[in-house]
Amino acid sequence: MITPTLQHYLVVSGLLFCLGLLGVLARRNLLVVYMSLELMLNAANLALVAFSHFNNQLNGQVMVFFIITVAAAEVAVGLALIVAIYRKRQTAHVEDLSSLKF
Amino acid sequence: MSPLTSIVLTPLITALVVLLIPGNYRFVLRLVAIAGTAVTAALATRLFFLFQPGGGLQFDHQVPWLNHAVFSLSYHVGADGLNIGLILAAALVGFAAVGVSWDIERQPTLYYFLLLLIIGGALGAFASLDLFFFYFFNELALVPTFLMIGLWGRGPEKNYAAFKITIYLTLGAMIALVGLILVYAQTQTLDVVKLRALIATAPLPSGIQAVAFPCLLFGFGTLVGLWPFHSWAPLGYASAPTATAMMHAGILKKAGLLALLRVALPIMPEGVAKWMPVLLVLGLGNLLYCGFVAMRQRNLNLLLGNSSLAHMGFCFLGIASVSVIGVTGTVLVMVSHALLAALSFAVSGWFHRHAGTLELNRFGGVLARVPFFGTVLIAALMAGCGVPGFANFAGEVTVMFGAWKQFPWFVMAAAWGGLVIGGVYMLRAIREMLHGELNPEFAALREFPHSEPLPEPLPNIGLGAQVVTWLTWVLNSALGGGIWRGWRRLPYVVLLASLLLFGFAPGILTERIRPDAEELVKLATNRVPTTAVAPATEPK
């Protein structure tokens, strides 16, 4: 077992990113898709913090701060939207959103 | 303002004026449009006779348009032997086209606007010496054509025809544009004069010529109706309203040919050497294939459309010969066919409107009922099969002479065969329509059949304007209504007269064409090996 280095953290973050991507692609529930997106953003956060630590630059952490803020805003809007859709259609599934297919 | 610019701008300005006139002032619309084109025609005629044969480039007018380190273009018009005749023909046909459109009732504002746009565009294209503006003006006609076929066209297939003609023309134009841009990217200019000067010292690299020449050839060829990219033409003409068909078959097609003469031949001698045999074969295709197809037509318009394609075969033949006589003949055919095609479609349009059909076998013996239009039709068809006395004869014979020396015997045989085929279907059309038993269906056919309804009085626009209103109404009633409608023959007469004039005195044209044709052929056959130098001026 070796002392974790930058690569270790980055690999974890990369795998987390891919997990999130998998969720976005494979899951059909809007809320879960959304959670997967959060996972992807978090992966980026981890990478930034790791870089910040190993490169001794705080800038990355500031960036994480921004990302968290943006994610929170995105979630707020997204959940409001999902609620609005649910009120209209009683569904929260990607497949059911098909009024725009031709 | 230079005379050429004023010729180009007159119809365009008229178009804008027309756009400001409301649709219910129909009479004013017509008058303005006719006046505008009449002025254009007059100016063009004056210019034609002011033109000094052998005087090189005249009436030159250049305005910088885009002055940029890399992109530089300028508005440049001028007249030489190659285009002066076409400018005249375009102006005359434009006048005639507006003249025969008197009967348009639906959305007249839009109609005249679009028609004038086409006319202005055609004149601009002919006059342009900058190839960008040539393209620019030529493409002005594209959408108006589409709209006119759709809105005022005829026949069940007009929708299909409108799309087909537009898409074919766009495709051709885009391919040609690619060729042009290829040249432009290489030389930083599209000015014909500058190009020639540039080429004299630094020919285009072979690689460029090898790509650009076929682009130009097939691109512009499609615009002309080169076989086998021609199938849009007959259908389009048959479906288009009379004026559009006149402009297209008569005038716009020639723009493609003019472009070939202007750009393809003089600046790409290598391309010429490589591709002229191909053009020859395809030109023969036009002559023979389209001729045969024309022979099978039962509809006058389709027949005329295909025959006009067959005529283009002569033009291609003349270009492919790359000889002074051939090129001179080509230009001669271009001018005369412009007039002829316009005349044919004008008169067939008249028959369509008044007889309600153009099916050849339904007609018969109508010459007696409508002597004037019958005669005009005979004249047009005769001219179409190359009867001496009409300008076409002169042109086609000249092309034959030009081709004689260049091509093997079977080419001549084929061309001759094309003429014979033309004779066959033209004469048969005359026989079926005008001679023989009168189909009782057309017993009531008259030159000016029903007295057309009097136009509604103009709205009362105030006390002082009452008199004007009243006068206008009287004039309108007189011209459109029926007191004397003989003037409505004027468009046909103009076209026929000029056809005859150039037929009996082709020298008027040839003396103007010949010096430039010589120059052109000299450049086209100037096959200096270019592989050694690749003197592209790099953009800064």
Partner: protein, 501 residues
């Protein structure tokens, strides 16, 4: 920090907040008029900004904000050019939304202020000189557009458009954020100029390259380039017309300017090696957009596919790169602004009257309102690339720049061929709309379409713009060229050229 640099941004923020607050005190009938006020404000800012454009066209200035050597906000020729672009677009969109406001059930003044905030994001995007700045301004645009797109809450389609835009937008953000993280980690900086200074060493760093790739993926979503285009048709169709218009013009242009900044401001050397990729993307985008647009019957969906195709054309200039290509892209974008906004102004008026969005609602438009019919026709003609309108000259310039690049790499010729095919295909569907206007069929509704004077004026501006750009392009081309020349640093290709020969 030099506040005078942010004049227009500050003005826009204040305008947005003002509109939001004014809503509290104004009676509900008068709220509609806030759109006029906002548009007037934008026009004022626009005219004021013109000064800078005219007086000092090659003005380059990098103003550091805070400690870094180069600031994250840059006010150069390109930024000024795009700011003017965005301001004009937003002003017209505001006028459009006033006309369309009867379709909103609630919150018209919020619509105006959100439009202004989206504009703010675009203004900052134009001035971004840092990946962080880019991310933040893009997010502002994205989230604002989510709300704008789903503004018609009573229509399912609008909500769906919002949700799709949100999910895909968030996915793009995630890609971009991860990319930025990798870029930051491998370069040690997020500043474009500092990255440029390091690009030689970074070019061999796989982490940096992957990061850059992910960032461009994020931008690709923004401009709807294949394969990141899936959202465009649905979102264009579902969103309210003014939002769609702004999306088509503003958001796309923001993506383009950022793409330019990244590709040519941060990593010009890498870009000059990656042209093949850009060529492929541009070609597929053009073809995809054009082919999918053909069978469409829904106008807005058709415009969605058309916008994909146009994204491809915009990429054409980026792929052809250096100076001329980008100049052409800028010019094309400006023409596109007038053209698309004219189209949507008409569409907004027409759709306001009816629930359907099928092309057949255009039937009889020639009679119902000749002015609208003419405007829509002109806009379609311009989109199709037919003279004398802006679209034609834009395509001419683009093709020319691609062709000029063709002397370096013959795959550019393939791109030209694709572009030609794209234009010919597009003729079909654009003319299909013209046909619908004039002779496509009869519309049971024969009433004369009424619309306000401001729409008339906005349309007149758009038509004038199309004609001006098409007939007298000198000023625009010169300005665009100055903007590009003063701002970006395309790697000089001459060295590469001589090597290739």
């Amino acid at each position: 920090m030099n506040l005078s640099l942010f004049q227009s941004e500050i003005a826009v923020v204040l305008l947005g907040l003002g509109v939001l607050l004014a809503d509290l005190w104004l009676p509900s009938e008068a709220r509609n008029k806030l759109g006029y006020a906002a548009a007037a404000g934008l026009v004022a800012i626009f005219l004021y900004g013109f000064r800078g454009l005219l007086i000092d066209p090659v003005h380059v200035s990098v103003f550091p904000i805070g400690g870094s050597k180069f600031g994250m906000f840059i006010q150069d020729g390109l930024a000024v050019y795009f700011k003017q672009f965005f301001l004009l677009a937003a002003a017209i969109v505001l006028l459009m939304s006033v006309e369309y406001s009867s379709r909103f059930t609630a919150g018209i003044s919020e619509f105006y202020s959100l439009t202004l905030f989206a504009l703010l994001g675009m203004l900052f995007a134009a001035s971004s000189n840092d990946f962080v700045m880019m991310f933040v301004s893009l997010e502002l645009i994205t989230i604002t557009f989510v709300v704008l797109n789903s503004f018609q809450r009573n229509r399912m389609a609008s909500l769906e458009a919002g949700v799709k835009y949100l999910i895909i937008g968030a996915l793009a953000s995630a890609f971009m954020v991860f990319g930025i993280a990798l870029v930051f980690g491998s370069a040690g900086t997020t500043n474009f100029e500092e990255v440029r200074a390091l690009q030689k060493t970074l070019a061999a760093n796989p982490v940096f390259l992957v990061g850059l790739l992910l960032v461009t993926v994020g931008l690709g979503f923004k401009i709807a380039a294949v394969p990141f285009q899936i959202w465009a048709p649905d979102v264009y169709q579902g969103s309210p017309a003014p939002a769609t218009a702004f999306l088509a013009v503003g958001s796309k242009a923001a993506g383009i300017v950022l793409l330019m900044r990244v590709l040519f401001g941060a990593v010009p050397m890498l870009t000059s090696h990656a042209t093949k990729l850009l060529i492929v993307v541009a070609a597929i985008t053009i073809l995809y957009g054009a082919l999918c647009a053909i069978p469409q019957r829904n106008i807005k969906r058709l415009m969605g596919y058309s916008s994909i195709a146009n994204a491809g054309f915009l990429l054409l200039g980026v792929a052809a790169a250096p100076h001329e290509g980008l100049t052409a892209t800028l010019y094309y974008l400006t023409g596109y602004l007038f053209t698309v906004l004219a189209a949507f102004l008409v569409i907004a008026v027409v759709l306001r009257e009816t629930e359907s969005e099928d092309i057949s609602v255009l039937h009889g438009l020639g009679h119902r309102s000749p002015y609208l019919a003419l405007a829509l026709t002109l806009s379609m003609v311009s989109l199709a690339g037919v003279p004398p309108l802006a679209g034609f000259f834009g395509k001419f310039l683009l093709l020319r720049s691609v062709m000029a690049a063709g002397t370096l790499d013959s795959s550019y010729y393939l791109l030209v061929a694709v572009a030609v095919v794209g234009v010919v295909l597009s003729i079909y569907y654009y003319l299909g709309i013209i046909r619908a206007i004039y002779w496509g069929g009869t519309n049971p509704d024969k009433s004369v379409l009424r619309f306000g004077i401001t729409t008339k004026v906005a349309l007149a501006i758009c038509i004038a713009g199309m004609l001006y750009a098409g007939v007298l392009p000198h000023f625009l081309v010169q300005t665009a060229s100055n903007a590009v020349g003063s701002s970006l640093h395309p790697e000089p290709v001459t060295a590469q050229t001589s090597a290739a020969r």
